[in-house]
Amino acid sequence: MLPSKELRDLSKRVDICLSGKTVPKGCDIRFRQFFWLMVFDDRGELLTACRLSDRLTEERKMFGTTLPESLVSIVEKGLKAGPSLEQLERRYIAEHGSNEALDGLRKKIKAMEGVAQMRVAAFLARAAPSTADPALSRANGILMEAAACNRQVINHAAYAKLAKSIEGFVEDHPDHPSCGDLVKPLANVALKYAFDLPARCKVYAKTWTSMKTDSAKAVEGLRKLSQQLLVHCDAEVTRAATALRTMKPNAYGRIRLLARLGRAQETLDGLAATKTFGVMRPIHADWRKAAPAKLQEASKK
């Protein structure tokens, strides 16, 4: 593809960069192991992004083109994939965070297979003061952050940051209806690798119900939120326990479910029989601390 005439011709119209392992600023990507194409317009604004190998295969199958011809075709289509992400961000601010403008951003992210999802999450929080409902904009940013965390290689720091974002939102907007939308992202994404989900949820519920506020509406909101979290947690525990019953001893994800249920000894046994690798190191380190602490706590009772 690189030494082709097609690429040389394309370079007369479009500047081309092989970026190695560096992602352009604002183009945070999910699944770094793949080969991606990002297309920018003449103002340097992001028009589209895609997993190039998949798209090349599609083009070649559909149109019977050569590899370089397929690349040119994908780039040509990409150059017409306006509006740019920046234009959509400007529209969001101009329309004070309208649902249509938010929808435009969401569709763009979907079309770009999640590229720039974290950037848009941060944008929604940053743009909140310019919108009609700043808390809603912030909540939408958190929901996008959760979607990004859920669609990438396991990242301990990203889960912790998401939990902090949700905690901060509930603290700042205890009576906002969006609080309820953050229960699932908290339990299912931010606490996906947490040890003892029921215990963690109880701590959240206690914190929320004892939060000091002068607003009766906020007190009621926090009470309902705590209840909603505990109900959701119960459902998650049932789901995890059911899944565990059908799993083989060395099945993928078994230790995570044991940890999620807070089964301390079984988690430690599982860890002892497992080799901890890369992304799991900080998570397993947490479990290695939390499980003995729970056993010690139980022995005191």
Binding site: C17, S19, L37
Partner: protein, 56 residues
Amino acid sequence: MRLTGTTLALLATASLLGAQQPSKPYQEGKVQSFLEHTRENGRPAIVLYNFNLDSG
């Protein structure tokens, strides 16, 4: 050191060949400065991330 006529001819040929080498139609690495440059020049651009140069 004195350069002989043959050496000069060889050097001239080598520099001529060097000048005729076609430049690559793409840039490698330094993606942020690449994008700043294309923006300043008002040209559309593409970035290939994680591209395998060996199999390219």
